[in-house]
């Protein structure tokens, strides 16, 4: 009797997974949908060679990565410069979508924000609002494709 019960539970679980798996993961705060409408708001902490700013032109390794990511997904990029503390606060409160500036896996901000998988072999990552797993999924998909 007990094994039969277990089998039913498992079956129910599998059906549940099959039904839901196509839209997993989603964003609790709806970042990915917002980005489609309002553009990808990225916070930039100036830190050469990852992020550079000259007048209103942004450049650097991480900026280029995001520019290509935005192009591939047909997204508008919106920049916002500032210091680490202010920008991580904004990221924590879902006011910006991503934060770049040469952060690594060992960043001190991991309590407040999430990290992508490293995009190079020196553990450099992009910061992302906590729990926005759909945005993370698309960005990591791009990182995996372009990582050498």
């Amino acid at each position: 009797m007990y094994y039969k019960q277990l089998a039913y539970k498992l079956l129910f679980f599998l059906v549940f997974i099959l039904i839901t798996s196509c839209n997993i993961p989603k964003d609790p705060e709806g970042s990915w949908e917002k980005i489609q409408k309002n553009g990808l708001h990225i916070g930039v902490v100036i830190n050469a060679p990852f992020t550079l700013q000259k007048d209103s032109v942004y450049s650097g390794k991480e900026i280029e990565l995001l520019q290509n990511f935005a192009k591939e997904n047909k997204l508008q990029l919106v920049y916002e410069t500032g210091n680490e503390t202010d920008l991580t606060d904004k990221l924590e409160n879902y006011e910006i979508d991503l934060l770049v500036g040469g952060f690594t896996k060992k960043s001190i901000w991991t309590d407040k924000v999430g990290l992508t998988t490293p995009y190079d072999n020196e553990d450099h990552v992009i910061l992302i609002p906590k729990g926005e797993n759909k945005l993370l999924h698309f960005l990591e998909s791009y990182i995996f494709k372009n990582k050498k």
């Binding site: 277990l6 839901t20 609790p28 705060e29 998988t117 609002p129 999924h137």
Partner: protein
């Protein structure tokens, strides 16, 4: 006047204890493998972390059972004149503390992450050229961690009842806590995938209530057993009727005017005294020897009986 036997279990139960030992070794090995696997995939999921710590804690009942089975059957000696039976009661206390601790940890941890509105971030990994959401990997790890727990737990329950072994029973309940938490964590991770950030912690909090309940019941029982409470059943903590049966039996003997008994649990077995008021002018020695045999035939759990002839039954023995 006392009678004692070193070997607790009757022959027909010995293979059962051996089976229980094998099950516990399997449990321990399997728990260690889960602990390593879960550590490798846990990421920042709250439920995953808690399930991992739970697994680590749940090795305690298994370990204490295995240690206790090495000691309980040792012969009484000058330093331990009552034998080593109670080592099971101590193991029971250890296991109960572990189970209760698991529940508390789970409740506190999930409340904190609900309160701080922590959104679990779950990324992806590359596996053979495909991007796989880590949530699926975690669910697979949790399934691996829960299904054997379920089977092991259910196999131990009937053995624990037959052996009157409370630590084994607690361990089976620990395994129940384990797989329930794992199921909750699986649903929690799925729900996080569907955008409900709170599901992970809420599921853990929900399960913690039942773990705390089980843990508290066992902790209470373990402490009461060590305080020489009268024997109770393993599965429902209700008084074991065996004590009343013994009292009735002793009172039915014609050489006994009246009698009162008291028993306590020493691990798997019972120790106790029989106070008797004798019929006048008689030598009780041969009767008592016969009486002890008769009582011991009632159940193997009755391990040590002391007969105490008195003029008047003592008032303060419950």
């Amino acid at each position: 006047m006392s009678h004692s036997e070193t070997f607790e279990l009757p022959d027909y139960l010995k293979p059962l204890l051996k089976k229980a030992k094998i099950l516990e070794w399997l449990t321990l090995l399997y728990l260690l493998s889960t602990i390593i696997l879960m550590y490798l995939v846990m990421g920042s999921s709250q439920a995953m972390k808690t399930a991992w710590l739970e697994d680590a804690l749940s090795t305690l009942p298994a370990i204490s059972f295995l240690i206790a089975t090495r000691l309980y059957n040792k012969k009484p000696n000058v330093n331990f004149p009552y034998g080593y039976h109670r080592v099971f009661s101590i193991a029971f206390l250890t296991g109960a503390v572990a189970l209760f601790g698991m529940g508390c940890f789970l409740a506190i941890d999930s409340s904190i992450s609900l309160n701080s509105q922590e959104h679990p971030t779950i990324g992806s990994m590359m596996f053979m050229g495909n991007q796989i959401w880590m949530g699926w990997v975690m669910i697979a790890a949790l399934a691996y961690s829960s299904i054997p727990s379920m089977i092991l737990g259910y196999k131990k329950l009937p053995i624990a009842k037959k052996l009157h072994n409370k630590i084994l029973y607690t361990d089976a309940e620990t395994q129940k806590a384990d797989y329930m938490t794992a199921f909750a964590a699986m649903l929690g991770i799925l729900a996080v995938g569907l955008g409900f950030w709170w599901a992970d912690a809420a599921a853990a909090l929900f399960i913690s209530i039942s773990v705390i309940k089980d843990g508290f019941k066992n902790l209470k029982d373990a402490i009461q057993d060590l305080m020489d409470r009268r024997p109770v059943n393993v599965h429902d903590s209700k008084p074991d009727e065996l004590v009343e049966i013994i009292e009735e039996l002793v009172n039915s003997w014609d050489w006994v005017v009246e009698a009162k008994v008291r028993f306590r649990e020493h691990g798997q077995v019972y120790f106790g005294e029989v106070f008797i008021v004798l019929a006048p002018d008689m030598d009780p020695a041969p009767f008592i020897q016969k009486g002890i045999t008769e009582i011991r035939e009632l159940h193997w759990k009755i391990n040590d009986i002391t007969f105490m002839p008195v003029h008047k039954l003592p008032e303060n023995i419950g």
